[in-house]
Symmetry: C2
Subunit: 112 residues, 2 copies
DNA sequence: ACGATGATTAACGCACATGTTAAATATTAA
DNA sequence: TTAATATTTAACATGTGCGTTAATCATCGT
């Protein structure tokens, strides 16, 4: 699966989207996220695995406690998402051209 | 499901993403899309239903032939997607603030 | 009217994703 | 060492998504 595909898939799940929104306020531990999102720790663990695989979040050590790890947002995939969106939205920058293309394509079929 | 959820879900599928990319060049009929994407007409029909439900595309009449309908991109959902992305990416605009928040949160636990 | 064309719906199978509980792993603290 | 805490993995049930083929529906052309 492509990077972009992984990103969209990760963000298609509402729980994972809420996790991302929570992480905007700063890194959080897995347990904190599970509690905040009202899902069981195993479920949260799997969501975090998906988010990590997509690169949207990364695991970082947190303080001296070797148990303590936090998850934080990574910028890259969001940038890639934005670039894709920019490309698609460029469509409307040349809507007239697209219309003309369509008119040409349907020439002879009685296009409106 | 939320509008944003429908949008992400729709774009999580590679075939539907390719359909959107194709439609950047202008409206296309269902059969043309099916052929271009190498999927069966029924599969294409279902993908188009999902895309329509998300508002990413709309069905329009095409010419005088009452059979002929084309699918074209709609701007709205892409804009909503962009707004969500803007909000999330605002995270990096105040990264220092987020770091301070985290340091505060872990105060007394020996944060790095 | 009749056959051809384009598209959707129906029915089915398969794979994958999500959630749960219980067990395992790792690390800290007493 | 032993108990407690944080997280992940295992095992399982459930639901949903995607693809196919066959059938149905609508419309055009002869």
């Amino acid at each position: 699966m492509s990077d972009l595909g992984r990103t969209f898939t990760a963000l298609a799940d509402p729980t994972r989207r809420r996790a991302v929104e929570l992480l905007r306020a700063g890194p959080r531990r897995a347990g904190e996220l599970a509690a905040a999102l009202a899902v069981s720790p195993p479920a949260m663990s799997r969501h975090l695995r998906v988010l990590r695989a997509s690169g949207l979040v990364e695991e970082r050590p947190d303080g001296d406690d070797a148990r303590a790890r936090v998850y934080g947002l990574r910028r890259g995939p969001f940038g890639e998402l934005r670039r894709w969106l920019d490309e698609v939205e460029a469509f409307w920058a040349c809507e007239l051209a697209a219309f003309k293309e369509h008119a040409e394509r349907t020439r002879g079929r009685g296009g409106r």
